[in-house]
Amino acid sequence: MSDESVHAALRSDAPLVVIEAPAGCGKTYQGAAYARDAAAILKSGRLLILTHTHAACSVFDSRTSGAGSRVEIKTIDSFIGQIAGAYHAGLGVPKDAATWARQTKDGYDLLAVKIAALLKRYPAIARALACRYPVVICDEHQDSTGERHAAIMSLHEQGAKLRLFADPMQTVFTAKTHIGGCPPLDWGALTSQAQAFERLDTPHRWANGCPNLGRWILTAREALKRGDRIDLRNGIPDSVTIVHADNIAQQRSVFVPAPGDRGPIDAFANEHQSLLILTRYNNTATGLRSAFNRRLPLWEGHNRLDLEKLVDALSSSNGDKDAVAKAAVAFVQATCVGFSGTAFANNLLADVADGCTKRRTNKPAKIQALARLILAEPDHRGASKLLSRLADFRTTDADFRPIQIDALKEFYEACRLKDFATASAGFAEISQRRTYSRPSPPRKAISTIHKAKGLECDRVIIAPCDAATFRDDHLSRCLLYVAISRPMKRLMFVVPRVNPSPLTLV
């Protein structure tokens, strides 16, 4: 198990090679190098690299430049979409299957189910694909659902050589129940099925940061994988700090460290290096924003769950002004603080309900102005214009200053919905643009661990490291590992004195 053995295994004749690839150990480097070498000696067909994100596609693209058309790089969902487009009539989806999948709830999962079934029933199609792509490399394969894995294996059964890179300790996305009856990827079965199984174990990413930290993170990973606890009492390098802090917040899953314990945390955060404060839940992240006096932005990642909810509600509102108003209010309350019922929301809803007949002055009049926007256009346009006007009021009007937008990007994307014919079309277009523009996180940010996957920074604070956040289950272990593997230089655990996580030994 080393860089050399992985290098050799990839280039062997073994039809199925599985590489266990912990974070930062050079999997992309190995994968891209192998791709260049393998593509050069292909007699016919092309080499296919399948990733899960467009960001990863770009990375592989730049690292395999020069291989030309012999290498094709796609996301696995694009690949599935392409097959679906060719056979759309027999699958019951429209010809532009990819757009349908984008616009349908769980669309890509549904397509994956259909394609897995199609390839199983018609091995000739899998064979045609295997002839076209005699070598297939899969990146982050632990994120593939059972159906996606089945589809890839169909190609393998028809003769394609597979090289799978996966980290079983980073399976944070497949925990939620998904469409389709296929059982999730079984790591044990996969590694025993492979003719060659190797592990990358050199923490290359930390070569320019703190190498000790890199090695410690790998050891911690092993402990988590074994089912053990990470020992934070002994043997920790200088780059890892433990801070005990009590939670003074009253609401559930919100963490605000006690003032007396904050010192080392603030000092850590105030250094000039890049920083991510990682936690598990969205509302914990929002709460942490307040805890840090709103000086640190939220990293919103690539999903917009609240915007999705808004779009769903608006699409089914069908001109019902009250429904539109409720949806708009829910969105504002999810993405901002300060838009409480008593202060703003109740008046707004009442005005919409009675048609803005009552005469109002001062602040209520401005709220009524917002309500009129919905009465004028009881659809996504009215809601979207309301959001824009609200943002304006925030800057111009003292009454509205208490409203603070936490999810800035999400909020402003919602403001753009009015430019589109329907809410769903707008959402699809905005999501599409976001997928390709791939914004990167701010220098210092607060984020959920899910959204931080794949990112790197100098410093990380994990707060809180308690039993509610990191339970003793596989998902929690993976989340903890993802969190500790983000920093290159310094890592801080904020551990409450009451109910610390069972995964750590303090």
């Binding site: 016919s44 056979y87 259909k114 018609y122 091995p123 000739a124 045609a128």
Partner: protein, 579 residues
């Protein structure tokens, strides 16, 4: 790699073909049919679809009815190995599913085993007289069908004309070019030939003349420093001039110097040598330039190979040798149908020209053959062969019925002329009649002799008995023998037979054996030959139809059949047998 196979061929509006669909067999397909039926057009269509170059020029005659605006389309559903597809297309080519004779897009929720994967290839003639080669994907989109892919599938054409020489030379895309596949040869040779010192080969006078020319050019401000070298010409590359040579009595001669048959076989042999390739093979007129023993040899090679082949022939020996091939017949309407080998084998042996005619009429027996030929000569005002019509002997009632069934099942148009044998096989005859229509003639009851003899008025019976050459003697003898008379005088016989004269004549004409005379069966049955049971006898009956004034009786029943035959060869119907 398995061989490429055409599963279904569709031709629309190409040359003389309006609309044509065919599911050929996997191995060797031999297409028979009369002249101008369209056999060569089918072969040309396949060749065009798989043409190894894009350099084909169309004329308006390639479009049906010369209407260029409507375009034409040639489409094939083909079984192709996926390895072949993988290397050749820029975008992925997705397979269809072959199900019940159709290519369908694979669908989830279908029951039963999955059909074989197939691809759909198409070439269209546009309204701009241009050709467009495409692959049709299951979602309806089309991609360009590249020259590379067409060459990978491969087609060998041994044409009807002497373009065989093409395959013996290094013309781009020819069999020899594919075999040697030396891509850079052209450029290497080009530069080498360009260097050849032609100037040094000139004799002194010529050298002087060239030098003087050079001076003159310089004076006239034309390009100077002249030299001589091998240059190409418009439309002819240097490599196209390179061809195979072989030894003939110690001298290397171009293969083009050998006979046409040898050249053909050579071209085929070159094509077969190309490694790993099993190209679709098209041979128009298999027998061309070959003696029967070489025809049989070539036929053997073609049908025993693994590639799918399409052959046409007019040679009976080729048809006899085609024991491992599927036989097809292209009728005058342009429909193609299978000829069931078992059912037609016997007929094929006896009357090999049946399937080489434009319209074949299966007559029940020898008499009918002569009778029908004679009538056709009158109604066509010329011999039937001139129109590609052949009347053949079906070998009896049962055999003729079986043959007509086998032919009409395949949707082919044939003619028939048969008896009613005591109402036997009514359903089978009805089915055949439904398919063939008025081209099938059947007496309502009885046979030709019976119907005709019964129609003769009593006072003309003696004329009926009168034979053509040797007088009535032998026929009267048969009658006398049946009556047990020694004298073969008509009057005596007539008196002796009385009312049963006509039945007696019928018995004799049909060669029926009287009860109790089984020991002399041969003698009695041979009576038929003396009467009308020969082609000459049939002709005689046709003549007597008119000379005995019987035509008006039979005109209503026979005229529809004769007009149907006229219609089959493109002639308008007539009121009467003569205008």
């Amino acid at each position: 790699m398995p061989a490429p196979i055409i599963m279904r061929l569709t031709i629309e509006r190409f040359r003389g073909v309006a609309s044509f669909t065919w599911q050929p067999a996997k191995g060797s397909n031999v297409i028979l049919g009369g002249g101008d039926a369209g056999k060569t057009t089918i072969l040309d269509a396949i060749g065009l679809l798989l043409n190894p170059t894009n350099a084909v020029s169309l004329s308006d005659a390639d479009y049906f009815g010369r209407t260029v605006a409507d375009g034409f389309k040639i489409e094939a559903v083909m079984s192709l190995p996926p390895e072949l597809m993988a290397g050749q297309t820029h975008r992925p080519s997705w397979p269809w599913e072959w199900k019940n004779g159709n290519a369908v897009p694979p669908a989830l929720g279908d029951e039963g085993p999955a059909g074989d994967p197939v691809y759909i290839l198409r070439v269209s003639g546009t309204s701009d007289l241009e050709l467009l080669w495409e692959i049709v994907q299951p979602n309806g989109e089309t991609d360009f069908l590249s020259v590379g892919l067409r060459r990978a599938i491969g087609v060998i054409r041994l044409g009807g004309d002497d373009r065989n020489d093409r395959d013996l030379r290094l013309v781009q895309g020819s069999a020899l070019d594919r075999l040697l596949s030396d891509r850079s040869l052209r450029s290497r040779l080009g530069s080498k030939l360009a260097k050849s010192e032609v100037k040094d080969e000139l004799d002194p006078d010529a050298k002087k003349a060239l030098a003087e020319l050079d001076t003159a050019f310089k004076i006239k401000a034309l390009p100077d420093k002249l030299d001589l070298a091998v240059t190409g010409a418009q439309g002819v590359t240097i490599t196209a001039l390179i061809g195979l040579t072989a030894d003939k009595a110690g001298v290397q001669l171009p293969l083009a110097n050998w006979g046409s048959g040898t050249r053909r076989l050579a071209a085929l042999a070159i094509a077969e040598q190309t490694q790993d390739a099993l190209p679709i093979t098209i041979v128009d007129e298999v027998e061309r330039g070959l003696e029967p023993y070489r025809q049989r040899g070539l036929m053997q090679e073609l049908q025993d190979g693994a590639a799918q082949t399409f052959l046409t022939t007019h040679s009976a020996s080729v048809v006899s040798a085609a024991t491992n091939s599927s036989l097809w017949y292209l009728d005058h309407k342009g429909n193609i149908g299978p000829l069931d080998r078992k059912k037609i084998a016997d007929h094929q042996k006896k009357e090999p020209e049946t399937f080489l005619a434009r319209l074949s009429i299966i007559a029940e027996g020898a008499t009918e053959v002569g009778f029908v030929n004679a009538l056709l000569e009158k109604v066509l005002e010329g011999p039937p062969e001139q129109y590609g019509i052949r009347v053949s002997d079906g070998g009896g009632h049962e055999t003729a019925l079986g043959l007509l069934e086998a032919l009409s099942e395949g949707g082919l148009m044939f003619g028939g002329f048969a008896d009613d044998e005591s109402g036997k096989h009514p359903q089978r005859w009805r089915r055949v009649k439904d398919k063939l229509g008025p081209l099938l003639f059947r007496w309502d009851s009885g046979c030709l002799e019976v119907n005709l003899i019964r129609a003769v008025p009593a006072d003309r019976l003696e004329d009926l008995i009168q034979g053509t050459d040797d007088g009535p003697g032998s026929r009267l003898r048969t009658l006398a023998d049946r009556l047990g008379l020694a004298v073969k005088e008509f009057a005596t016989i007539k008196a002796s037979a009385g009312d049963s004269l006509v039945p007696l004549i019928i018995e004799a004409a049909l060669g029926q054996v009287p009860t109790g005379k089984d020991s002399e069966k041969k003698t009695y049955s041979s009576h038929a030959q003396t009467w009308f049971k020969t082609p000459a006898g049939g002709r005689e009956l046709a003549d007597k139809l008119f000379s005995l004034g019987l035509w008006p009786t039979f005109k209503p029943t026979l005229m529809p059949f004769l007009n149907a035959v006229r219609g089959a060869v493109g002639l308008p119907p007539r009121e009467d047998i003569m205008p």
